[in-house]
Amino acid sequence: MKKTLYFLLVFTFGLSSCEKDDICDANTATTPRLIISFYDIKTPSVKQNVTRLKVVGKDQPEGIIFNEGGTDVTKYLTSGDSIAIPLKTNEDSTTFSFILNSDNPNPQLANTDEITFNYSRQNVYVSRACGFKTIYKLNTQIPFVKTDSGTDGIWMQDVRVNNPNIEFENETHVKIYF
């Protein structure tokens, strides 16, 4: 009788100890980033690498980190043909500055364009551990506004929406031709 009592006690304590064991798995699809791919304006079907592009969110002191292992300067730069940038989850528009040749010693060669993305948001339940995620839909009327900041001209010759539904990160949402 006593033995049983102890076993039952141990059993119940054993159960209570495995209560908080859930962590949001990194592979879970949560809030997606905006995927932008760069294309050649002369041959629009061919992807083209950008040169030392830096993307800075409006009113943010630092750029978006593209290269975790880089130095204080190079970690904000990318020379690839696509980027993933985070949109604000608590506002319906986000503005970014796209600075091409950003670390060029000759500041004349750096070219900054600004894009404001306009979208609607939806909060979707994921799981107990992950909570909710935000998915976006670019506005159909004015999905983005492109402006030249300064007088250096526009380096993005064309910007097109490829997929207005920003739900996953495995597809291109916006294409930029230059």
């Binding site: 009788m1 033995k3 049983t4 009592l5 076993f7 039952l8 141990v10 059993f11 119940t12 054993g14 159960l15 495995c18 209560e19 859930d22 949001c24 990194a26 949560t30 809030t31 980033r33 969110g57 943010q60 978006i64 980190i65 940038i85 985070p86 604000k88 989850t89 608590n90 986000t94 909060n123 979707v124 339940y125 994921v126 799981s127 107990r128 551990a129 992950c130 909570g131 909710f132 995620k133 935000t134």
Partner: protein, 266 residues
Amino acid sequence: MSKYIFSICLLFTVFLIQAQEIATDTVKKEIRKTKPKTTVQTAETITDSVPVKKDRYGLRVGVDLYKLTRGFYDKDYKGIEFVGDFRLTKKYYIAAELGIEDKTTDDDRLNSTATGTYIKGGFDYNMYNNWLDMENLITVGLRGGFSTFSQELNSYKIYNPDQYWGEIPVNTDGAKYTGLTAAWAEVAVGMKAKVFNNVFVGFGVQLKLLLANKDPDGFENLYIPGFNRTYDGSFGVGFNYTVSYFIPLYKKQVIIPEAEKKAPKK
């Protein structure tokens, strides 16, 4: 999960060993008492020498003290559970639990409140062999459970792996989901001991398997009254600590198998 299964197996082995020990003990006693008599006297007197043992049958009603007292120290919980069982045969009892719960679950990213009532019904099998007029129980049983409840999402956080725009404020525009139901089956293991007169104290653990669960649109049932916290699979666990009162209704004479065998020989 294998951990639980192992613990349960351990639990059952203990029950088995104990049950057998006690059983052999009583049999030995019986034989010792009766054997010398059979050699000297006739079988007729043997049946007379066995004292008449009567089992009491009736209804036992009680309350779960764990749920009742939890409301005093846990501000996120209010609940009560009534328990009852009725003795059908020597070993079998019909058992039922009826409860109401109001539980706020505070996870890292979600805060929700589940409120509702539940009913569980089934049977208990007493594996404990009592001596003389003892009325203790070590039971295994099965239950079917059903709950009807509502769930309110109080606040939630957006999970964003990219922290570029800083920490996102907590959202409090959650909704209330009503008309939710769930059904489950459970294996209940427990014990009850008579402390004085007709008052019993007992505790038990339950392993639950969710059979049907109506999740709200765009959310999930994180806590089901009676079933408790939901896990990724459909398993759940429960615990109760009861105090109950036995209302005796009638008595039945206990037939001792040893005496029964001897009697027809005469």
